[in-house]
C-alpha cells in the first residue's frame, strides 16, 4: 500500500520552510490579518510534519493531532477574526503597532 515515491525529508523541509515563512511574517508584518494568516501557515506547517511522521512511523497519533490542530485553528480563526472586527470598529485600525495598551 505504501509507495514511498517522495522521501520524507522533502516533506519535512517543506514544513520547515513554511513554518519559517510563517514566523518571519508573524514577526515582521504589521497588519493583524496578515499576522493571523502567517500563524495559520505555521499551524499548517506543523500539520504537514505531523502527517509526515504519522505516515512514516505507521502511527495514527500524528493524524489525530493534525485533526486537533485543524479544529483549534478553525475555532481560533472564528474568534480571532471577530476580535479584529471589534478592534477595527473601536479604533479604526488593526495595525499591531498601534494596539499597544497592555504595556507599562
Amino acid at each position: 500500500m505504501v509507495i514511498p515515491s517522495v522521501p520524507p525529508e522533502c516533506y519535512l523541509v517543506l514544513s520547515g520552510m513554511l513554518f519559517t515563512i510563517g514566523v518571519i511574517g508573524a514577526l515582521t508584518r504589521r497588519n493583524a490579518i496578515v499576522v493571523f494568516m502567517c500563524i495559520e501557515m505555521m499551524l499548517n506547517a506543523v500539520n504537514i510534519s505531523f502527517i509526515t511522521f504519522s505516515r512514516f512511523l505507521q502511527s495514527l497519533d500524528g493524524v489525530l493531532f493534525a485533526f486537533f490542530v485543524m479544529a483549534v485553528a478553525a475555532a481560533e480563526a472564528a474568534v480571532g477574526l471577530a476580535i479584529f472586527v471589534m478592534i477595527y470598529r473601536s479604533r479604526d485600525t488593526i495595525n499591531l503597532d498601534e494596539i499597544n495598551l497592555l504595556k507599562w
Binding site: 499591531l96 494596539i99 497592555l102
Partner: protein
C-alpha cells in the same frame, strides 16, 4: 467575731467605692466624714478581734477565714482568705489605728486642696490594700496587697501631678519598687515549684511553713534572699532605697502614713511572717542583718546634712527600717515587729508634726528658714519633742525599749555579732544627733523665718493637733508593752507574738555565749547573772551614745550655731559628699539609667533602625529596582512577545540539539 475578720479590709474598700464613685457629688463634707470613719470602723473591728484573740490560750491563737476560692487549677488552689494570729492582728491594729488618726489629720491638712476627694479615695484604697497584705493567709493575696500599696504609693506621691518633680518622684518610686517586686515574684515562684516537687502545691502560709522542712537549705536560702530583695524594694533598703527620699513630694500625711508608718514596714512584716523560712537559712539572715545595719548607718549619715525637714525624716525612716531588718535578721523577729510598731507611732507623729510646721509656715520645708517656733506653735513643738525623744532612744519612751531590744539581740542572739551591735549603736547616736538637729533648727535658736511668712504663723486647727497628741501619747507609752525582763518588765509583746515568731519559752534571755565580750565579762569573775548585767551595761552604753549625739546637736545648733559651718569648711570634701547623699542618685543615673538608655538607644538605632527597618526597606527597594527593570520588557507590542517566545523556543531546541550532538 473571728468570722467577721473580712470586715477589717472591707470597710476601707467601701470607703474607697463611695469616695471614688460618688465623692464628686457628695461634696467635701461627706467625704471628710466617710474617709476617716471607715478606717475607724476597721480599727474598731481589729480591737474587738484582738480582745477575743487574747482571750484564747496562746496555742489556739490561729484562725483562718476563707472567703472564696480564687484560683483553682489542678491540684493547686488559692483562696481569698484572711488569717488571724498575733502577728497579723497586731499589724492590723497598728495600721488601722495609725491610719485612722492620720486620716483625721488629713481632713484638716488637705482641707483647701482641690483634690480632696481624690486624696481620700486613694488613701482608703491604700488602707484596704495594706490590710490585705497584712491579713492575707497566702502569699498570692499578700502579693496583691503588696502591689496594691505600691500603686497607691505611686498615686499619692504623684498626687500633685501638675508638679514635674512630684510626678517624676512617683514614677521613680514605682519603677524602683518593680525591681524589688521582681525578686518577690521570683521568690514566690521558687517556693511554689520547690514545694511542688514534694507534691505540695500551695502558697498558703500555714501549709508552706508546716512543710518548709522538706526544702533543702540551698533552696530556702535562694527563696529567702529573693523575698528579701522584694522587702528591700518596698522597705527602702540599700541598694534600692533611693525612691523613698524622693517620695516626700507627696502630701505630708501621705509621707507619714505610707512612707513612714505602714507601707514601708511591709518588708519587715513579710520577713517576720516568713520567719520559719528565714530561720532555716542562716546565710539569708546574715544578709538581712548586714543590709539592715548598713542601711541604718549609711542613711543616718546622710540625715546629717539635709536641710529639708521631710528629707531628714525620710532618711531617718530608712535608717530605722534598717534597724528593723537588723532585728529580724538576727532572729529577733518580735523585736523587729516591736520596733515597727513604736516607729509607726513616733515617725508617723514626726511627719505629722513636720506637716503642722509646714502648715504654720505656708508650706516652708527648709529648716534654714525656720527656728524659734517653740513658743509659736506649742502643741506641735511638744508632740514633735516627745517623738524626737522616743526616736533618739531616751529611756522611758517607746523607742528606747524597742531599739534597745534590737541592739541587745544584735549582740546576744546566736545570729548576732559584736560588730552588728557596734555599728547599730553608733547609728543610734547618729539618729539622736540628726533628729535633735532637726528639732533645734526648727523650734529653737533665732527665728530665720521669712518676713511675710512670719506674720501668719499659727497653730494648726484641733483636727490636726488632736491626732498629734494621740500619737504623742502612744509614742511615750507604746514601749511599755515590751519592757524587757532585765528592767523588771514582762515583755508582753514578745510573749504575745511567740506563737507566730517562736522563742516564747525563754524570752529575752541571752543565748549561748557567743560574743567575746560576754565571755570576757564572765571571765572577769562576775559570776551568775552576767547576762542580765551585760544587758544593762549595753543599755547604758546605748543611752550614753544617744545622749552624746543629743549633746553634740545642742552644742552645734543651739549653743554655738557657728560650729556647723566651721565643720563643713574644715572637711569640705566630706561635707560635700554627704550633702550630695554620697552621689548615689548620680551613680545610679550613670550605672543604670544612662546605660539602659544607651542600650535602648543602641538597640533602637542599631537593631531596630538598621537591621529590622533595613531588612524590610531593603527588600522593598530591591523589588522596586528589579521590577523597574523588568517592566521595560512589557512593551505592549504583540510581536515583541511573539519574538521572545520564538527565541525561547529556538534556545530550547538548540539546547537539545547541542546535547544530542555532544553526549
Amino acid at each position: 467575731m473571728f468570722d467577721y475578720v473580712w470586715l477589717i479590709p472591707l470597710f476601707p474598700a467601701i470607703g474607697f467605692m463611695i469616695n471614688g464613685l460618688f465623692g464628686k457629688h457628695l461634696g467635701k463634707k461627706v467625704v471628710s466624714w466617710v474617709g476617716p470613719s471607715v478606717i475607724g470602723l476597721s480599727f474598731l473591728t481589729s480591737i474587738l478581734i484582738f480582745f477575743e484573740l487574747i482571750g484564747r490560750p496562746p496555742t489556739q491563737r490561729l484562725f483562718e477565714k476563707v472567703i472564696f476560692d480564687w484560683v483553682v487549677s489542678g491540684s493547686f488552689q488559692t483562696v481569698i482568705g484572711y488569717q488571724i494570729d498575733p502577728l497579723s492582728i497586731l499589724m492590723a491594729l497598728v495600721v488601722s489605728g495609725v491610719s485612722f488618726f492620720i486620716h483625721i489629720y488629713s481632713v484638716g491638712y488637705m482641707h483647701d486642696d482641690p483634690g480632696f476627694t481624690r486624696y481620700f479615695t486613694y488613701l482608703n484604697l491604700f488602707v484596704f490594700m495594706m490590710l490585705n497584705l497584712i491579713l492575707a493567709n497566702n502569699f498570692l493575696l499578700m502579693f496583691v496587697g503588696w502591689e496594691g500599696v505600691g500603686l497607691c504609693s505611686y498615686l499619692l506621691i504623684g498626687f500633685w501631678y501638675e508638679k514635674d518633680s512630684a510626678s517624676n518622684a512617683g514614677k521613680k518610686a514605682f519603677v524602683v519598687n518593680r525591681v524589688g517586686d521582681f525578686g518577690f515574684i521570683l521568690g514566690m515562684f521558687l517556693l511554689f515549684t520547690s514545694l511542688g516537687k514534694n507534691g505540695i502545691w500551695t502558697l498558703d502560709f500555714t501549709e508552706v511553713f508546716a512543710n518548709a522542712s522538706k526544702l533543702d537549705t540551698g533552696t530556702v536560702t535562694a527563696i529567702t534572699i529573693l523575698l528579701f530583695i522584694g522587702a528591700c524594694g518596698k522597705s527602702a533598703q540599700i541598694p534600692i532605697y533611693v525612691w523613698l527620699p524622693d517620695a516626700m513630694e507627696g502630701p505630708t500625711p501621705v509621707s507619714s502614713l505610707i512612707h513612714a508608718a505602714t507601707m514601708v514596714t511591709a518588708g519587715v512584716y513579710m520577713v517576720a511572717r516568713c520567719n520559719v523560712l528565714y530561720s532555716m537559712a542562716p546565710i539569708a539572715m546574715a544578709i538581712v542583718a548586714i543590709v539592715g545595719v548598713a542601711t541604718a548607718i549609711f542613711t543616718a549619715s546622710i540625715g546629717f546634712c539635709q536641710n529639708d525637714i521631710k528629707k531628714v525624716l525620710a532618711y531617718s525612716t530608712i535608717s530605722q527600717l534598717g534597724y528593723m531588718f537588723l532585728g529580724v535578721g538576727v532572729g529577733a523577729y518580735s523585736a523587729g515587729i516591736f520596733h515597727l510598731m513604736t516607729h509607726a507611732f513616733f515617725k508617723g507623729l514626726l511627719f505629722l508634726g513636720a506637716g503642722s510646721v509646714m502648715h504654720a509656715l505656708s508650706g516652708e520645708l527648709d529648716m534654714r528658714k525656720m527656728g524659734a517656733l517653740r513658743t509659736k506653735i506649742p502643741i506641735t513643738f511638744w508632740t514633735f519633742f516627745f517623738a524626737t525623744l522616743a526616736i533618739a532612744g531616751i529611756p522611758g519612751l517607746s523607742g528606747f525599749f524597742s531599739k534597745d531590744e534590737i541592739l541587745w539581740q544584735a549582740f546576744s542572739s546566736s545570729h548576732g555579732h559584736f560588730l552588728l551591735w557596734l555599728v547599730a549603736a553608733i547609728a543610734a547616736g547618729m539618729t539622736a544627733f540628726y533628729m535633735f538637729r532637726a528639732l533645734f533648727m526648727t523650734f529653737f535658736g533665732q527665728s530665720r523665718v521669712d518676713e511675710h511668712v512670719a506674720h501668719h504663723i499659727h497653730e494648726s486647727p484641733k483636727i490636726m493637733t488632736v491626732p498629734l497628741m494621740v500619737l504623742a501619747v502612744l509614742s511615750v507609752i507604746g514601749g511599755y508593752i515590751g519592757v524587757p525582763h532585765v528592767l523588771g518588765g514582762a515583755n508582753h509583746i514578745h510573749q504575745f507574738l511567740a506563737p507566730v515568731l517562736g522563742g516564747g519559752a525563754e524570752p529575752g534571755k541571752a543565748h549561748a555565749g557567743i560574743s567575746i565580750l560576754s565571755q570576757a565579762w564572765a571571765s572577769g569573775g562576775e559570776g551568775g547573772g552576767h547576762g542580765a548585767a551585760l544587758e544593762l551595761l549595753m543599755m547604758v552604753v546605748s543611752v550614753v551614745i544617744a545622749l552624746i549625739g543629743i549633746g553634740i546637736a545642742y552644742l552645734f545648733y543651739v549653743k554655738n550655731p557657728a560650729i556647723p559651718k566651721l565643720v563643713a569648711e574644715k572637711w569640705k570634701g566630706l561635707y560635700k559628699l554627704v550633702f550630695n547623699k554620697y552621689y548615689v542618685d548620680e551613680l545610679y543615673e550613670i550605672l543604670f539609667i544612662k546605660s539602659l538608655k544607651n542600650l535602648g538607644t543602641g538597640l533602637w538605632k542599631g537593631f531596630d533602625d538598621f537591621i529590622i527597618d533595613g531588612t524590610i526597606n531593603g527588600i522593598a527597594y530591591l523589588i522596586g529596582v528589579v521590577s523597574g527593570g523588568m517592566r521595560k520588557i512589557q512593551t505592549g507590542l504583540v510581536q515583541n512577545y511573539a519574538f521572545s517566545m520564538i527565541v525561547g523556543g529556538i534556545v530550547i531546541a538548540a539546547y537539545y540539539i547541542v546535547r544530542a550532538i555532544f553526549y
